[in-house]
């Protein structure tokens, strides 16, 4: 079977090269037959990649330990879900998964555009296929998932595989890579349409309209992927963190930031025909960063917890990244005339300019994260001295940037298009600002002294107020006309312009998340060594160790604590943290116990037996204020993005303000 799989990958590679060349030639020389045959090749490639994927998954599920990949990433004891997840658990499999996802996207693009965009489609196909060929080169020649274990010339099988790292055997972790990949890979589509429209100098914004939904979907996947990773780290790793500024985490954040900037600046092009060059730059940068992220994860350029085993794969990525950069830069520079802006900025205080600032801050934070991630490498190359750029650096640089972004989240949507009067500003911002400042004052009186946290809480209320006010004003107007109740009026309002109000809901999700981030300023931590019957205290919690047990089963040994919790003196149930040591992988894991509440989480981790006195257990206790709001915010963000995807009830056309150039006018005067 593995030979069939390898053969299918090879055939897919050949077809990929053909599809690339045929669509390019067909588009250039205007040969519909070539274009059609290239598009059919795209569908065939999907089939040719589904086959090896199915073979690999079957091998993982049935435990075909002749395959090196299966032996390294699966074992007999693993539940079927994680055997399946082992498809993307290692280097070779995940690259095949990447390829397969891209072929799915390419097939969907071809099928949905059979009668549309005929002029740019050949080049869209060509761009997608170029990417596909790159990954197929890796699948076929560099990191084949179908290598068999052999002694001499004889294929052998190991009795059992090494299995997936037990830390990763958690539902959110099984979901995290595929959602992230769906986001990464998905951005190839907007990029391909952008390139197609650049190559053909397609007039108008067809590519923007076509890829609008793609962009939101892939952005949603990227967000989900990042948030699942954060949720997993919080619930599984035993230290209560959700973000550690690890290079690979940063790599997933970079394209998300530029994609977010793109989602905003695209509105400028749709409504006003402005910022066309910038949008091209953003969409290319996002795609480039998606590939770059994959490169960072796999090449071992920077050290990271997440990194796959080091491999020679890095240089292939460097070449591909160079090609993307060169092609995108050439096309954009060569076609600047076609990307000319159709409208002018009418006032500095306007929605247009607020988008400029929003984009600046998003791209700047992207740059700051990229810079911090790569700085150790750069610095070592220049000065020859190794340095560290750890979490404190990123926090110090990005917290102020993030807070400014939060501020813009509140301000931007309330600026009117074209120009905003001072009276309008006062009307919109007076009460939210008063509320935000009042909150800061109250918190100061209550004894909160953390500067950034204070600013963050104030801004959260400010932004939340502006968003609620927008819904309130709109719903009131609808109520006045139709007499519906508030809920029906709000739904009606949202349905009329789903992107606008869905966007507000997403903003609300961001506000909730910032609330959760700010809570981290007040984290409490205590590590204690306890025997049965001991009591200890953290924050408002009195904890008593009721029981300490140990045990053993065929999969792992375990140590278990039962801890009684009293909150403000009142009984609040028990928490049972556990520590496991998996035998086959020789890996320890924590089953943390969390008492989740809206105001704070109590988080207990059984860290092990004390080295000094083995009759004592080491318990790490944490109180994390407001952390639940991050997960509430995530859910809100997802809900808001889904609203954006529902078609609006009222179809909107955006008539463009025509530019009447000065020269023409003077000419008219003269005549």
């Amino acid at each position: 079977m593995e030979n069939l799989g390898s053969l299918a990958v090879l055939l897919a590679f050949c077809l990929g090269v053909y599809a690339f060349l045929a669509s390019l030639l067909g588009g250039w020389k205007n040969r519909p037959f070539l274009v059609a045959s290239a598009e059919r090749s795209v569908l065939a490639i999907w089939f040719l990649l589904t086959l090896p994927s199915a073979i690999l998954v079957t091998a993982l599920l049935t435990g075909d330990f002749r395959l090196a990949y299966v032996a390294a990433h699966s074992n007999r004891a693993m539940p079927a879900l994680y055997k399946f997840a082992a498809w993307w658990g290692g280097q070779e499999g995940s690259l095949l998964f990447w390829s397969w996802l891209l072929s799915c996207y390419a097939a969907v693009v071809v099928l949905t555009n059979r009668r549309k965009h005929r002029r740019i489609m050949p080049f869209v196909t060509a761009t997608l296929m170029a990417t596909q060929v790159f990954f197929l080169i890796l699948n076929a020649f560099v990191a084949s998932p179908f290598q068999v274990l052999a002694v001499g010339r004889e294929v052998t099988a190991v009795p059992d595989g090494r299995g997936l790292n037990p830390l990763l055997q958690y539902w959110a972790m099984a979901m995290h890579p595929p959602t992230l990949y769906l986001g990464y890979v998905g951005f190839a589509v907007p990029f391909a349409f952008a390139m197609g429209s650049l190559i053909t100098r397609e007039p108008g914004d067809a590519w923007i309209h076509t890829t609008r939904r793609w962009t939101i979907v892939t952005w949603l996947f990227q967000s989900c992927g990042i948030l699942l990773g954060a949720g997993w780290a919080y619930a599984v790793l035993g230290w209560g963190g959700y973000w550690a500024w690890d290079p690979v985490e940063n790599a997933s954040l970079l394209p998300w930031l530029t994609a977010t900037a793109f989602l905003h600046s695209v509105m400028m092009q749709e409504k006003k025909g402005m910022m066309k060059v910038w949008n091209m730059v953003l969409v290319s940068a996002t795609f480039w960063l998606c590939i770059f992220g994959t490169f960072l994860t796999r090449s071992g350029v920077v050290s990271s917890v997440h990194a796959f085993a080091q491999s020679p794969i890095g240089k292939y990525f460097v070449v591909f990244l160079g090609i993307i950069f060169a092609v995108a830069a050439y096309l954009i520079l060569d076609r600047l005339d076609y990307l000319k802006s159709e409208a002018r900025l009418e006032s500095v205080i306007s929605r247009e300019s607020s988008f400029l600032f929003n984009n600046l801050i998003l791209v700047a934070s992207c740059f700051a994260v990229l810079w911090g991630t790569l700085f150790p490498v750069i610095s070592e190359a220049v000065t020859g001295e190794k340095i560290s750029v750890d979490a404190p650096f990123f926090n110090r640089v990005n917290v102020p940037i993030g807070l400014f972004l939060l501020f813009l989240t509140g301000v931007g949507p309330l600026f009117a298009w074209r120009r905003t009067s001072l009276e309008g500003l006062r009307r919109n911002f007076l009460w939210p600002s008063v509320a935000g400042l009042a909150l800061i004052a109250v918190l100061l009186v209550l004894g909160v002294r953390h500067f950034y946290a204070l600013v963050c809480f104030g801004l959260c209320l400010f932004v939340a107020w502006t968003i609620v006010a927008e819904f309130y004003k709109g719903a009131r107007a609808i109520r006045a006309r139709t007499g519906q109740n508030w809920i029906a009026a709000t739904v009606e309002l949202t349905h009329r312009n789903t992107r606008r109000y869905g966007g507000y809901v997403v903003h609300m999700g961001i506000v909730f998340m910032f609330l959760g981030f700010a809570g981290a300023a007040f984290n409490k931590h205590s590590t204690v060594e306890v025997r049965m019957g001991d009591t200890f205290r953290i924050g408002r919690y009195d904890l008593r160790v009721l029981d300490l047990r140990e045990g053993d089963n065929e999969n792992y040994t375990w140590q278990h604590a039962v801890i009684e919790v009293r909150h403000n003196g009142r009984p609040a149930g028990t928490l049972e943290p556990e520590r496991r040591f998996y035998k086959s992988s020789e890996q320890a894991t924590s089953e943390v116990a969390i008492r989740r509440r809206l105001n704070e989480d109590l988080y207990l981790n059984y860290a092990g037996l004390s080295n000094e006195d083995p009759s004592k257990a080491v318990i790490q206790a944490y109180v994390f204020p407001l952390v639940s709001w991050i997960w509430i915010g995530s859910a809100t963000l997802i809900f808001g993005s889904l609203i954006c995807l529902i078609p609006s009830k009222v179809r909107r056309e955006y008539p463009r303000t025509q530019v009447v150039g000065v020269a023409e006018r003077y000419a008219a005067v003269k005549n």
Binding site: F375, E385, V662
Partner: protein, 156 residues
């Protein structure tokens, strides 16, 4: 002889520190110094104060050492210098703000400044040009204006 005495004292203090429990190693004083030092265990990106691994082969001995140096009456900066002497600048959690490494801190903000300038240029270039003197005679214009006013009045 004096050196021998000092090193004996250090060993003694270190031994005392080693026998400290995990909870004592997480004292506020140790944390205060530990947040400036990177955990060089090779997997995490945390500081010595925040490394979550109980038996981390770097963070734990580092904490013991900080505790013993503090017990000797060393100041925070002295302790950090001792670590830098041993492990190089890599042991600092953030790049020191000097020489080339200053760039690490300044570049993000330089980028923002550059971006602001770009926006400024953009606004200057794409500002709507001031309306040229109208070629339409004033009386025609005022006739239209009156009409608009009338229409608006009717709307109310």
């Amino acid at each position: 002889m004096r050196r021998l005495k000092t090193s004996a004292l250090v060993v003694l203090l270190a031994a005392a520190a080693l026998s400290q429990t995990a909870s004592q190693l997480q004292s506020d004083a140790v944390r205060r110094v530990g947040v400036h030092l990177a955990c060089l265990c090779g997997t995490c990106k945390n500081t010595v104060a925040d490394c979550p691994m109980l038996e981390c082969h770097f963070a734990k001995p580092a904490r013991v050492r900080i505790a013993s140096l503090l017990a000797q009456g060393k100041s925070d900066t002295e302790i950090i210098e001792i670590f830098v002497k041993e492990y190089g600048k890599q042991v600092l959690a953030v790049p020191p703000a000097e020489g080339f490494n200053l760039l690490a801190w300044t570049m993000p903000f330089v980028a923002i400044a550059a971006g602001l300038m770009l926006i400024w240029v953009f606004i200057q270039r794409f500002r709507k040009p001031p309306t040229a003197p109208s070629a339409v005679p004033d009386e025609t214009l005022s006739r239209y204006r009156d009409e608009i006013e009338k229409d608006l009045a009717r709307l109310d």
